[in-house]
């Protein structure tokens, strides 16, 4: 699987991060190598195997519908937040 600059840009968008321009060639090469390697799984026959893998047996544990407040958590997070005002998290304008 070849990672070209178009695919890299798409992946950057999905990841919401950018690779520095002077590192792009290197990253494309590395990702191409890694993908080439992991494609060794095609050597294995996985016909009929469950695509869903569970580490533990049984269903997900469920919670009773009883409220439990953790007010100190929000207070502390807001106190250290990069930008908060009147207990809102502030972000610059969202471009629609």
């Amino acid at each position: 699987m070849q990672i070209d600059s178009e695919l890299l840009t798409k992946l950057e968008t999905l990841s919401h991060l950018r690779v520095a321009d002077d590192k792009k060639e290197e990253i494309m090469r590395q990702l191409t190598d890694i993908l080439g390697y992991v494609e060794n799984l095609n050597e294995l026959d996985t016909e009929g195997l469950d695509p869903f893998f569970s580490m533990l047996e049984g269903g997900t544990p469920m919670r009773e519908d009883v409220t439990h407040k953790e007010e100190n958590v929000a207070r502390e997070i807001l106190a250290h937040a990069p930008m908060a005002e009147e207990d809102f998290f502030i972000v610059p304008a969202i471009i629609e």
Binding site: M1, I3, L7, L8, K10, L11, E12, L14, S15, H16, L17, R18, V19, A20, K23, I27, Q30, L31, D33, I34, L35, Y37, V38, E39, N40, L41, N42, E43, L44, T46, L49, D50, P51, F52, F53, M55, L56, T60, P61, R63, E70, N72, V73, R75, E76, I77, H80, A81, P82, M83, F89, V91, P92, A93, I94, I95
Partner: protein
């Protein structure tokens, strides 16, 4: 360094002396094993990897993007620790977001291997292992997703254990790969590791992937005389270098002498474990790390709009290895590639688990190398794929969710430790620790290498 077992018998006054002494030693050390000297609770001090939440501490996963974050809650493992006469003392250096095998990707710079400061301590729990090995921590907590406890323990000549997936709560462990992560002990010897393991394990209703089991302590029932059937995987050993192969052979000889039965097995090439791991772990990681955006906590970059906010914060805040894995993870999940990569890897995971189970039908535990060599030199591995391949022996264990423990067995000509790991069936920690205790006795590493007084 006083053992954990001994330290737990000390009085409050004696302990505060121990803590003061430890603190001064740790602060003087130039290993860069500690990235913080915070204290929380009372009792025997345990060094905590920088990705486990301790309330009030800046828990940063050794990343720039979490600078400024203060944990407002506590991991269940820490809560449990504190109930067993221990306290949290200090944050251990690690690879950024636990992604790495050398601790070189840390925002705080690398940690040095106490046996040779030009070499890495291993990763991602490099700080934890180095501190215990250097005698500046009694014991430590690390996390293991693909070998991150066992490998640094092997590189540093200490004991590192990964519990069965689900034994120790992940609540409060900054997630890297949700279906693979486990918190585990790094200690001076097997008994200490068992004590620390007993202290942190337990079902947790806050973690939906936490196993339900009756609590039974192991450390007080360790059987150093247990005799086991131990499987050795011949094709694995063949791929290690001479140092590891020699140590392996010698260990097998001593185990036989001690009365264990050795059976020879082969398993599929580790290249499939590596491939499966780097597909599934990166997919989970890409989404687990998507929350780091500088909006609610951590370090935010300058931005004129929210798009820029996300992109700038994450581009500036994440190191290269983390970025690489996020990009890779999003690739294997993306439309058009999901079936060929992610789904394929999930299917192979069944094969990997089945392969281990097949071996366990004939053996109690598996003996395997942890790494193909001793700790490499700092800055010597440039190619990520080469780095990934060095995890060959440890990854399969996480994919199958099995418990494993790494203990030191030898030193090479340059004095660098070699460690080997024992792997047991899921939830068979009793047998795992018994085998380890027996192996430790048979090898007598500390006596052989005069490591006791440091």
């Amino acid at each position: 360094m006083i053992t954990l077992k001994e330290a737990l018998t000390k009085s409050k006054e004696e302990l505060s002396e121990i803590v003061a002494d430890l603190e001064s030693k740790a602060k003087q050390s130039d290993l860069n094993a500690y990235v913080g000297f915070e204290k929380s609770g009372e009792g025997v001090p345990i060094l905590i990897k920088d990705n486990i939440q301790v309330k009030g501490w800046p828990v940063t996963s050794a990343s720039k993007i979490l600078q400024g974050y203060i944990a407002p809650y506590e991991a269940t493992a820490i809560v449990n620790l504190k109930k067993h006469g221990m306290m949290a003392f200090g944050r251990a250096n690690m690879d950024e977001f636990a992604m790495g095998s050398t601790t070189e990707s840390s925002f705080y710079g690398p940690t040095k291997n106490p046996h040779d400061p030009t070499r890495v301590p291993g990763g991602s729990s490099g700080g934890s292992a180095a501190a215990v090995a250097a005698g500046i921590a009694i014991a430590a907590l690390g996390s293991d997703t693909g070998g991150s406890i066992r490998q640094p323990a092997a590189y540093c000549g200490v004991v590192g254990m990964k519990p069965t997936y689900g034994r120790v709560s992940r609540y409060g462990l900054a997630a890297y790969a949700s279906s693979l992560d486990q918190i585990g002990p790094i200690a001076q010897n097997v008994e200490d590791a068992a004590i620390l393991y007993d202290a942190i394990k337990g079902h947790d209703p806050k973690d939906s992937t936490s196993a339900e089991f009756e609590y039974e302590s192991i450390a007080d029932r360790l059987d150093r005389n247990a005799k086991m059937t131990i499987a050795v995987i011949d094709n694995y050993v063949e791929e290690a270098d001479a140092d590891v192969r020699n140590a392996f052979e010698e260990t097998v000889r001593r185990l036989k002498e001690a009365g264990h039965r050795i059976v020879h097995k082969t398993m599929k090439n580790t290249k499939y474990d590596i491939a499966t791991y780097y597909i599934l772990a990166t997919a989970e990681a890409a989404t687990n790390l998507a929350r780091y955006d500088g909006i609610r906590y951590g370090r935010r970059a300058a931005a004129n709009n929210t798009q820029e906010l996300f992109f700038n914060t994450r581009s500036e805040g994440f190191g290269e290895e983390v970025k690489r894995r996020i990009l890779l993870g999003n690739f294997v999940l993306s439309s058009g590639y999901y079936d060929a990569y992610y789904v394929k890897a999930q299917k192979v995971r069944h094969l990997i688990r089945d392969a281990y189970n097949a071996v366990f039908e004939e053996a109690d535990v598996i003996l395997s190398p942890v790494a193909p060599s001793v700790a490499p030199k700092l800055g010597s591995i440039h190619d990520p794929l080469e780095m990934y391949k060095s995890d060959m022996y440890t990854l399969g264990v996480n994919l199958a969710g099995l418990p494993a423990i790494s203990l030191p067995v030898a030193k090479n000509a340059e004095g660098m430790p070699v460690g080997l790991q024992l792997i047991a069936k899921a939830f068979d920690e009793k047998r795992l620790f018994d085998a380890a205790a027996s192996m430790e006795k048979a090898i007598a590493y500390h006596d052989t290498y005069n490591e006791r007084e440091r």
